[in-house]
Symmetry: C2
Amino acid sequence: MTALVFLDPDFPAGRVADAATAQLSVLDQGVTRGDGIFESALYTDGIVRKIDAHLARLRVSASTCDLLVPHEEAWRAAIATAVAAFDAATPAEEAVVKLVATRGTEGTGHGTSWVMVSPAPELGRRQRQSGISVIFLDRGYDSRVAERAPWLLMGAKTLSYAVNMAALRHAKKLGADDVIFTSSDGIVLEGPTSTVLIAHRDGDTKRLITPTLETGILPGTTQGAIFSAAREAGWELGYGPLTPENLLDAEGVWLVSSVRLLTPVNSIDGTAIARDGQLHAELTAMVDAIQ
Amino acid sequence: MTALVFLDPDFPAGRVADAATAQLSVLDQGVTRGDGIFESALYTDGIVRKIDAHLARLRVSASTCDLLVPHEEAWRAAIATAVAAFDAATPAEEAVVKLVATRGTEGTGHGTSWVMVSPAPELGRRQRQSGISVIFLDRGYDSRVAERAPWLLMGAKTLSYAVNMAALRHAKKLGADDVIFTSSDGIVLEGPTSTVLIAHRDGDTKRLITPTLETGILPGTTQGAIFSAAREAGWELGYGPLTPENLLDAEGVWLVSSVRLLTPVNSIDGTAIARDGQLHAELTAMVDAIQ
């Protein structure tokens, strides 16, 4: 079901392991402190999509966390081994390739790194079609925190995701599917596992807007790929700040991520969001073409 | 070196395992999402100190995180088994008893829980004598965030400690030993792994003050025990809000935690902190008497 490959200097192509048995020390700081980083990429049609962007972001996360991680070549080799093992065992139309690097067991001086490949969750695939209901939730931070407090690790994709998961549980208790975080000063940030995208149409002009990275959000690899494609297709591009009102006034709002891809937002806090079918179709075509 | 016991319905006294070998799934949400909770207690003179307070706080953390954890009896049994195994293998004057409960592997519907006992770090014991230099760091949250945003899990001791560890690394880069977090609106919060305590003397009156829990900080079990002892000894007790200036003006500032106990603060941001020897001696006696 899950293919697992550890990065290991003794195994240049990665060390294949059995994900169904215990493989990790309880003393690993990845679990005792949530002290590590990760990436989730989509594997489909024999390709791990946006692998360069994921490896680049992993490198930024590592740098932000003062974490030594293996070189790109070791990641690429382990990914190749993992997807081959996955294909041999459980071929699936879509799979998630997860890269994880922790600070390792305290005192050992070296981290633990691995690649896992599992079938993509059904729910995310369904939501691309059905769309989702979301709620705004306060992330507690103001929109200028990232520049003044680098120790908060804003913009790094760490394993410390307890708050992100709690926000999703909170949304589900209220009958919603997902969350868009806002800053304490009322600026739109990101979803717990996604980037926010909004679109406007003004005559022949199509505009795509995403929150500015200065708010401390994670730079979305899928948002980046969509923006590149949209620019080539003649769209205007914009970077927030965005307010909740900007989302309610848009011709389309989406949550985008590497695995769920482009998920249209049907409503926010119970208010219906416009859904321009043509804009959605154009963006979907761009997402489907991402390599 | 580390004694390890898993809580397991099939083993009423806990299931002893080898901490030196892999015991955890890479799919456990404790590591993939930092989604779990923990407690650290001190084991010394054959007693796990403040065990009731730790189990009570674990229960609160579990409730805040919607996490099902084993019953207290199972924890107590596993703790007894773990300290016995530790004593048999590596007797130490002071040891850390760590309780961990994660959400387990996604889809299995049950969590993973274990108890670890390891020798207490030398550094913390030295710092009780030497004192520490600390810096203030902005935690990014304002002091009223806890009441308006329960999904931020303020007051729960989760495994998502990446920011706490990053703050400590930041302090060390600046040549300091530790951190006291402040809110974005300038209120003193807590250390990354400790509670703040300050003392004042006014003639015969001795006052002990700690930041108010309304700021969203973790309720300190050691602070609680010291407050009980100080009340009996006739001290006045106070609960913040405290400002950085209040700390600089105090007759003593301490970081307290279950394992490091009472650690005097020598300086904050390079400014020397007063250290009333008699107050320190009285508080140390109270801490030493904690059961």
